[in-house]
């Protein structure tokens, strides 16, 4: 895959999201649906890799970039991940004075809600890909509950899920 295109696609996904996994709909649309560079399974694996280690949630972009473009891709994925963060510097000067304007807050709220709808649309096929039977459904539900209602770090959740996956081998 062309590396400049890879960087621009990931930058677009990163710039148009407001949370770590918020870029997932754009990434899935560009890499799985439109260009078919990755499968849903590979995208799932990239998200898993990004969440297994420590660090920010958006790290999965680096894993997506590595899967699509090798090491040079990973470097560009890293740059696409961190580039939007520097927008906060001019934003501190400009929006710092306007953050309390109701219409600005309301526009940001609309943006967040649209992002949630998009994330919902991306989560359905990825969930179907991850579903392999009752056991995976139980793990999904438990993962949802743990992350929503407790403050347990997601890295511990990943380790627990891996251990649960290993435990299933004992029953086969």
């Amino acid at each position: 895959m062309n590396l400049l295109l890879l960087y621009l696609l990931l930058l677009k996904a990163s710039v148009t999201s407001f949370s770590g996994l918020g870029s997932l709909p754009m990434v899935r649309n560009d890499f799985v649906v439109e260009r078919q560079v990755l499968t849903d399974h590979q995208l799932n694996m990239a998200v898993v890799a990004g969440r297994t280690g420590p660090g920010p949630n958006g790290l999965y972009l680096v894993c997506v970039a590595y899967a699509a473009g090798g090491f040079p891709g990973a470097v560009l994925g890293f740059l696409a991940l961190v580039t939007p963060a520097f927008l906060v510097i001019p934003l501190m000067r400009w929006l710092g004075k306007r953050a309390d304007i109701p219409r600005v807050r309301s526009a940001i709220r609309g943006l967040l809600l649209a992002s949630a709808g998009l994330l919902l649309s991306s989560s359905v096929p990825l969930t179907l890909d991850a579903f392999t039977g009752i056991f995976s459904a139980v793990l999904m539900t438990a993962s949802f509950a743990v992350l929503t209602f407790t403050r347990i770090d997601s890295a511990w959740l990943m380790l627990g899920a891996a251990a649960a996956g290993l435990a299933t081998l004992m029953f086969h």
Partner: protein, 157 residues
């Protein structure tokens, strides 16, 4: 963020709690991953652009290297039954994590007829437009922002 607050505001007194709060608030409306923007803001407040770059690199580079190593591990374990069982467990957990993320985004916006209506129309509309009609994300995000801008009655009283 709590740990950074204690270290930078209380212990070292490198920035005031007001500036720390401003960085936190603006990081939430900065595109991309909030925590990276937060560290860039804190770094910029302390040492300017150099501080921002140093903070972002320190936060992300080691984790990014580790994440790539994990992907490589996944690739080389493809034929290993034990490793694949562990990976299948984590993939299922990630699916649950996505639903948790959706709930975390939506939860602060739920409550009151108008706010609930906005959630249903903007988030539900975004979902339908993408899922059913295959509209690409950018127009959906633009539409959501525009609707939010024009329909500002959704503020929590």
């Amino acid at each position: 963020m709590g740990m950074l607050g204690r270290e930078l505001v209380d212990t070292r007194r490198w920035i005031s709690s007001e500036k720390f709060d401003l960085a936190f608030a603006l990081a939430r409306v900065t595109p991309g991953t909030n925590i990276i923007a937060f560290c860039a803001a804190i770094g910029a407040l302390i040492c300017g652009l150099t501080g921002a770059v140093a903070a972002v690199v320190a936060l992300t580079a080691p984790s990014a290297v580790l994440a790539v190593l994990i992907v490589q591990g996944f690739e080389s374990w493809q034929g290993n039954r034990i490793a694949m069982a562990a990976i299948a467990g984590t993939v299922a957990a990630v699916a649950g994590m996505m639903w948790s993320t959706i709930w975390t985004i939506l939860r602060p916006h739920v409550g009151g007829l108008t706010r609930n209506l906005q959630v249903v129309l903007i988030a539900g509309g975004g979902f339908l437009a993408s899922w059913k009609f295959h509209v690409t994300p950018l127009p959906i995000i633009a539409a959501g922002t525009l609707i939010g801008f024009l329909w500002k009655d959704g503020e929590r009283p």
